[in-house]
């Protein structure tokens, strides 16, 4: 099984969650940080960056919620990437308020369905600009990723 984590982060909270998820996956996942400027250009060289997701079985999309929607960088990537149809997709999001959860999830589900991918699960972390992002929440995110792996392996016994 090959996994990839694609996320965008501004203040570093989503990056922490993405790192927790990566450790929950046992460390074997490619990571892409969408560090774009306002013209849509990637700021720094990212060795794993690619639009083609054919090589991956499990795809994690993460971002922070902006005006109760998923972040535009992430939505732009989801709309642009190739070979995502029929793939298992997991979403995670960080946000200031707990009530953004359903809105962010609804937006994410819409995006994923438009591309014809299958949503496995969605995870939301309340951060309030950092102070509320505790170790407990990061552990929860780690366990969430580990649970996803278990479910994936139960569904696909052939994939090791």
């Amino acid at each position: 099984m090959k996994a990839i984590i694609i996320y965008c982060s501004k203040t570093g909270n989503t990056e922490k969650v993405a790192t927790a998820i990566q450790s929950g996956l046992g460390g074997n996942a490619d990571v892409i940080r969408l560090n774009l400027n306002n013209d849509g250009m990637l700021r720094e060289f990212c060795p794993d960056f690619k639009f083609d997701l054919a090589a991956y079985d499990l795809i994690f999309f993460g971002g922070w919620t902006m005006v109760m929607k998923m972040h535009p960088f992430l939505t732009a990537y989801i709309q642009r990437c190739e070979n995502i149809g029929g793939k298992k997709v997991v979403g995670f999001a960080t946000g200031g308020a707990i009530f953004s959860r359903s809105h962010a999830k609804g937006d994410f589900v819409e995006l994923i369905e438009a591309r014809g991918a299958e949503l496995l699960d969605f995870h939301y972390v309340t951060t309030l600009l950092g102070p509320l992002l505790t170790k407990r929440k990061l552990n929860k995110a780690k366990n969430f990723a580990a649970g996803i792996i278990k479910r994936f392996k139960a569904d696909h016994p052939a994939a090791s």
Binding site: K10, L34, L36, N38, D39, G40, M41, L42, R43, E44, F45, C46, P47, F49, K50, F51, M66, V67, K69, H71, P72, F73, T75, A76, Y77, Q79, R80, L129
Partner: protein, 443 residues
Amino acid sequence: MDGLIPTFQRRDKIPHYDNDKMPNSHSIVMPVPGKVIIPLQDVPEDAYEVFVSVGDNVKTGQEIGTIGTGTDSLSVHATVSGEVVAVGEMFHPLVQHVASVEIRSDGLDEHEEHRPFKYSDKTDPFDFLRKMGVPLEYRRIRNVSTIIINATEFELCFNSRERIIIEQGKKIAEGLRLLVFSTGARAVFLVERRQTGIIKVIRNLIAVSEKTEIKLVNKPYPDTVRELVRKKSIAAENGREKKRSIHSTVIINPDVLAAVHDAYYLGLPFINEFLSIVGSAVRTPQNLWTRMGTLLVDVIEFAGGNIENTRRVTIGGALMGRPQFSLEVPVIRKTRGIYAAIALTFQEERKSKFYRRGPCIRCGKCIDVCPASLVPNHLAELIEHRHFEEAEEQGLFSCLECGLCYYVCPSIIPLVELVKLGKLKLKGRDSLLIFNSYKTHSF
């Protein structure tokens, strides 16, 4: 997309300087490419001559044609040895199609030998440099009183000028001494106060000659200043403007001075180009010596580039560069650098309101920063309402297209694109390249 930080705070932040990391790395000589495209024109209206035809074998440094004809011509040399594959119209990075020569390299890189300059030949030194293909302003250089060497870096991401002064300072000093000797002019190095690394180097270089001085400036000068000076001088020659000291000035880049030295003392024609390659599509930003006419694909690939995901390539920097429609275009003379980036386009309605185009709020920031003392918001308004002639009266063609007004505009009005659009409309031309990004806004 950072909605949390207010606009005025973001504007205060210093932009990303790539060239702060670069000066410590030595430049690299790129290996001979497999294929080169050498343009024989600067604009499609130029006269030109070709001395080779398809199937000919050429050596490196062999004269293959001239830009212009007769006594007013500049020689063009083959930059690799091999076979001429095609002669005709090909892609050019700045103007779409020009007459060019395509050469397939045989990998041997055999050089044709040229003699260095000798006084006993009794030829004019500038005619010799013309034959060697060194790009100087030959019409005016005999009568100038001041030679300005622009060592400032207007593009924040490049540092090719700094680097060439550090690495080839002696050649630059020799080339400059030659020009000063043959014209009788004085020379001034323009250096920005921020460039602390090269101020000392230049002071050492110019210590030997009397007519050379260093001038510290607070802000960098763009390359387009040269065009402005040239236009004014032509107007003065025709009696349309008063003669002032600026009219007997030429602006030269340091890499041309190194080429003058090479041609004059070593007999090497102008076939190499020094450029920076930066951006997120490249593994390490660096300075390269490339052969003229090398395709952009080869340059980006050599720099460890991520070719299949490269989406936006600009020749000449992020601020004043020209976006490219294809990677199969050659590196030409005066290429300062290449900015290659991985890019995504996002939907307008998903953009943060901070990044959506708004109405002009008359804050006057663009007027404060304009180096040509124009009123960019007024110009843009006139062009938007299609009053092109009025915009020309307001000084549309004095615009340097530096992009500072667009950078400071809090309403994200595409001022530079509008100004470029107005210029093209007045010339009766139309460009898809500029329209594409502009059509996402409203017109």
